[in-house]
């Protein structure tokens, strides 16, 4: 009897649900997309900007968000980023405004449940592009760097658009260079000016009696790597399952490397190739030796072949390590809300502090080590109309009214004035020229004296005159990183491995494969220009480092033919 009753209910529910769905089933796509009272926009699928990928860089720092342990628990709608734009009112409002002003355009959101820059997304994107169904605009860096994407034909030529663009004057060519090939432009920057910093556990520092000043737990801002080791030894206690630091084997920390005066690549003295591996430079080797000593000499690092960047982050959040490197974007909303975050069940501000990287052996401490990354490109195979519409939308969201909506929306979230710098990109939003638009600096949103001081300190540091890789593209960044992993995972797991021999082996591997190319248009002059500018930078700001660099300059960098 009960079984029969249950069966009848199931059948009744099935029939009811079918009839409920009939109105939708019965409609054609045209009918579904036709203008309605709620959506009075004429949709012409031919002009769809299908899938403007909604990455964090259009809005605010996904990097910091990823580093905040409890960000997932925060109300998502407060993150006014394009990553979540399709789910928040500001994003939808901006989109509908754009659609209203461009009646032939329909914005379609591509949602991808995963890390925006992750490997999985690159595969999804690649398949879509190969099938001719790719989005109109996307992050070129997901293909292992913008240069790789350009060389594989995955970036559209946008030279005509950027030629007369009012924003080009804000873009420094030496950072933009990787997005150009043979005088043609293929991408524009999507994210910039992130600071590589470290988180540290204030409570553990206090427990170990390490104070930057009286009553302020933490290291001093101008600390050295020697200080780092001393502090690390005080914090490490394997019995308590506590270590100073999670040392990943899959990535060389460029900020640390730069403070040691090391380089991942160096110019090719023969001129046959653009670069040769910089692993065998004395300063790079010194850095690698230090890396290794953290594990085998000082025993303060948690590392191993399975210790990836992600695992190192989990070690920090899992309360196994006292410090962790992160990229601190100029993300007003996140910093502005940090007082409301929790670290586990403890207050974030009381538990986690931020600190710049230690000074290198000669006192080198460089600010803003990662000026630009992530480049937005336009799908090369879409029609001219869609390209035009996409470029219009990028303008709208990067510097136009879309950006203004996000700024206002964030101000609402912060319960304060709009910040003048909501997203860490190098542009100058047009609303800033409006005298009636009240705004304030992103730094004013940061609560906590310590956080503000650190950002002020980092901004006061001299900035390297040339970006990573000397404003020339590395054709296969991911592959280069993969080779570095081979070296690091050997050095950080085998105390008996011969550093020189391992460096030579991997450098040889890199030279034969990843750096086996010469960039078109490269001349001795541009190599001379960046090498000399770096020499002058050291001489002016870091005289001790200049002495070290001059030797490298003479032996490895001054490769151009002598007149």
């Amino acid at each position: 009897m009960i079984r029969k009753l249950f069966k009848s209910v199931l059948i009744a529910l099935s029939v009811a649900s079918f009839f409920c769905s009939v109105p939708v089933i019965g409609q054609t796509p045209e009918e579904l997309l036709a203008p309605t009272e709620e959506r009075p926009i004429l949709v012409n699928p031919e002009y769809w900007i299908s899938g403007i990928r909604i990455f964090s860089y259009f809005g605010e720092g996904g990097d910091v968000a990823r580093n905040l342990r409890d960000w997932i628990d925060c109300p998502k709608e407060l993150y006014r980023s394009w990553q979540t734009a399709s789910r928040n009112i500001a994003g939808l409002y901006a989109a509908s405004l754009f659609e209203r002003d461009n009646p032939k355009v329909k914005l379609v959101w591509y949602e991808y449940a995963g890390e925006a820059a992750g490997k999985e997304w690159s595969k999804v994107l690649m398949s879509a592009l190969a099938a001719g169904e790719g989005p109109s605009a996307y992050d070129a860096n997901v293909f292992g760097g913008v240069a790789t994407a350009i060389s594989k034909g995955l970036c559209g030529d946008i030279t005509e658009y950027v030629k007369n663009w009012d924003q080009t004057k804000y873009l420094d060519m030496k950072f933009w260079a990787p997005a150009w090939k043979n005088g043609r432009c293929y991408a524009i920057p999507g994210q910039a000016m992130s600071y590589e910093l470290s988180f540290f556990r204030k409570d553990w520092f206090e427990e170990a009696g390490i104070f930057a000043a009286e009553g302020i737990a933490g290291p001093p801002v101008d600390w050295t790597f020697d200080d780092f080791v001393n502090i690390g030894q005080k914090l490490t206690d394997p019995k308590k399952k506590r270590w100073a630091f999670g040392l990943p084997v899959d990535v060389i920390r460029t900020g640390w490397l730069q403070n040691f005066g090391g380089f991942m690549v160096k110019p090719d003295p023969t001129g046959k190739y653009t670069f040769r591996s910089g692993l065998d430079l004395p300063t790079t080797k010194e850095f690698l030796k230090f890396y290794r000593d953290l594990k085998f000499k000082y025993n303060i690092a948690l590392t191993g072949t399975e210790e990836t960047g992600t695992a190192a982050a989990y070690d920090f959040w899992g309360e196994r390590t006292a410090m962790h490197i992160f990229e601190g974007t100029r993300h007003a909303l996140l910093w502005g809300r940090i007082d409301r975050h929790m670290f586990g069940d403890k207050s974030w501000l009381d538990t986690v502090g931020i600190i710049p990287f230690p000074k290198g052996p000669t006192g080198l401490q460089i600010g803003t080590p990662k000026p630009w990354w992530r480049f937005i490109t336009i799908n090369p195979v879409i029609s001219k109309e869609r390209k035009d519409a996409t470029w219009k939308f990028l303008n709208f969201i990067l510097v136009g009214d879309g950006k203004k909506i996000l700024a206002q929306d964030m101000a609402y979230a912060l319960n304060d004035l709009p910040t003048n710098d909501i997203a860490p990109n190098p542009y100058h939003p047009r609303y800033l020229d409006d005298p009636n638009f009240a705004s304030r600096s992103w730094k004013e949103t940061i609560p906590g004296e310590q956080y503000r001081e650190i950002f002020n300190y980092v901004e006061s540091l001299p900035v390297n005159p040339i970006p990573d890789f000397f404003a020339m593209p590395i054709m296969e960044e991911t592959a280069l990183q993969e080779k570095h992993r081979i070296l690091l995972s050997t050095l950080l797991t085998n105390p008996n491995a011969d550093l020189d021999a391992e460096v030579d082996k991997v450098a040889n591997m890199i030279n034969k494969t990843v750096l086996n190319y010469k960039i078109e248009g490269q001349t001795w002059d541009n190599i001379k220009e960046w090498a000399t500018s770096l020499k002058e930078f050291y001489e002016k700001n870091f005289p001790e480092q200049a002495k070290v660099f001059n030797e490298i300059y003479e032996t490895s960098f001054a490769v151009w033919p002598k007149k």
């Binding site: 490997k119 690159s122 595969k123 690649m126 592009l129 190969a130 293909f143 292992g144 790789t148 594989k152 034909g153 995955l154 394997p238 399952k241 270590w243 084997v249 899959d250 948690l302 191993g304 072949t305 399975e306 990836t308 196994r320 090369p380 195979v381 296969e476 991911t478 592959a479 993969e482 992993r485 081979i486 070296l487 995972s489 050997t490 797991t493 085998n494 491995a497 391992e502 040889n508 591997m509 034969k512 494969t513």
Partner: protein, 303 residues
């Protein structure tokens, strides 16, 4: 005199003829979905990979024919001999441990009570979710806070480097295979199908347990062993998930295997031509091994 068949028989034949036709048709109908899937997901990618291997393949836009360019580029890559050596090392270790041991265990299990066999089969079925096992094992191997070193320390033994030790890292990758007892289950099923009378007669005629195994169990397992060996060679030479998840190919290049390099060429370097060329080299290696295996391992019980 013309032989007249009874009406009922003629009708029956006609019916049978129709039945045969229907049967044939239904066989084809049942085969078509499988055949289509095999063509689309099996043959098409394989043929396409063979084409791409000779091209500078572009995801968007026309690709360029470059002849043997991809193969020559691969042969100059210092990683190639390393991955070949590692792949064969893994395959030998894996076949040695996870192929032979299950045969022995399955045979020995049949000497035990039915209840024991049932319990053991249950125990071996549980860890069949290989991905979960790999992820769990990765953390069990952790040198600093992993379970295995914890056990060693609690017994006063020195800690091991596990995945961080290039000498044993590959062995650590193979070990999870021992608890994935899928081949063992197949052997148990095969042995259970051997008529009991054969063992009873052998026992009556004074054959020992080992003689029964050698003369009855093993010969009857031979076709299955032969097939499983082919599958084991194919799967072990194509190993990917264990090293990819557990070591990322490290320490150094100690666990970098062939398919990881194919993956890296395709999805880290976007060099699909080189990746396909590598895949073809692997295909040729596996094919050669299978031809050799088919030639030397006899399947027929009477041979």
């Amino acid at each position: 005199m013309r032989k007249v068949l009874p009406l009922t028989v003629a009708k029956k034949d006609k019916f049978r003829e129709g039945g045969v036709k229907f049967k044939r048709l239904s066989i084809w109908l049942f085969c078509i979905p499988g055949a289509v899937v095999t063509l689309i997901f099996g043959w098409y990618p394989m043929i396409w990979a063979m084409v791409i291997a000779f091209q500078k393949f572009m995801i968007i836009g026309p690709s360029k024919w470059i002849g043997l360019g991809n193969f020559s580029s691969i042969l100059q890559d210092p990683i190639l001999p390393i991955v070949i050596k590692n792949t064969f090392y893994y395959a030998l270790l894996s076949i040695g441990l996870t192929f032979i041991i299950p045969i022995l265990v399955a045979i020995l299990l049949m000497e035990m009570s039915k209840k024991t066999v049932r319990i053991m089969m249950w125990l071996w079925f549980i860890p069949l979710s290989s991905m979960a096992s790999i992820v769990i094992l990765k953390w069990m191997y952790n040198v600093d806070y992993g379970l295995l070193n914890g056990i060693l320390v609690s017994f006063g033994l020195p800690e091991s480097g596990w995945l961080n030790d290039p000498r044993i890292a590959m062995l650590c990758l193979v070990l999870p295979g021992l608890i994935m007892f899928a081949p063992g289950l197949i052997y148990i099923a095969t042995i259970q199908a051997i008529p009991k009378e054969l063992y009873e007669n052998a026992h009556l005629e004074g054959a020992s347990v080992w003689q029964q195994i050698w003369h009855i169990s093993l010969p009857r397992l031979r076709p299955v062993i032969s097939m499983m060996l082919i599958l084991a060679v194919i799967s072990n030479l194509q190993i990917f998930s264990q090293p990819y998840i557990m070591t990322g190919g490290g320490p150094g290049t100690a666990t970098t295997v062939f398919v990881m390099e194919i993956y890296s060429q395709a999805f880290n370097r976007y060099a699909f031509g080189r990746a396909s060329a590598l895949a073809i080299i692997l295909f040729c290696i596996i094919l050669t091994l299978i031809i050799i295996q088919r030639k030397f391992v006899k399947e027929n019980l009477d041979e």
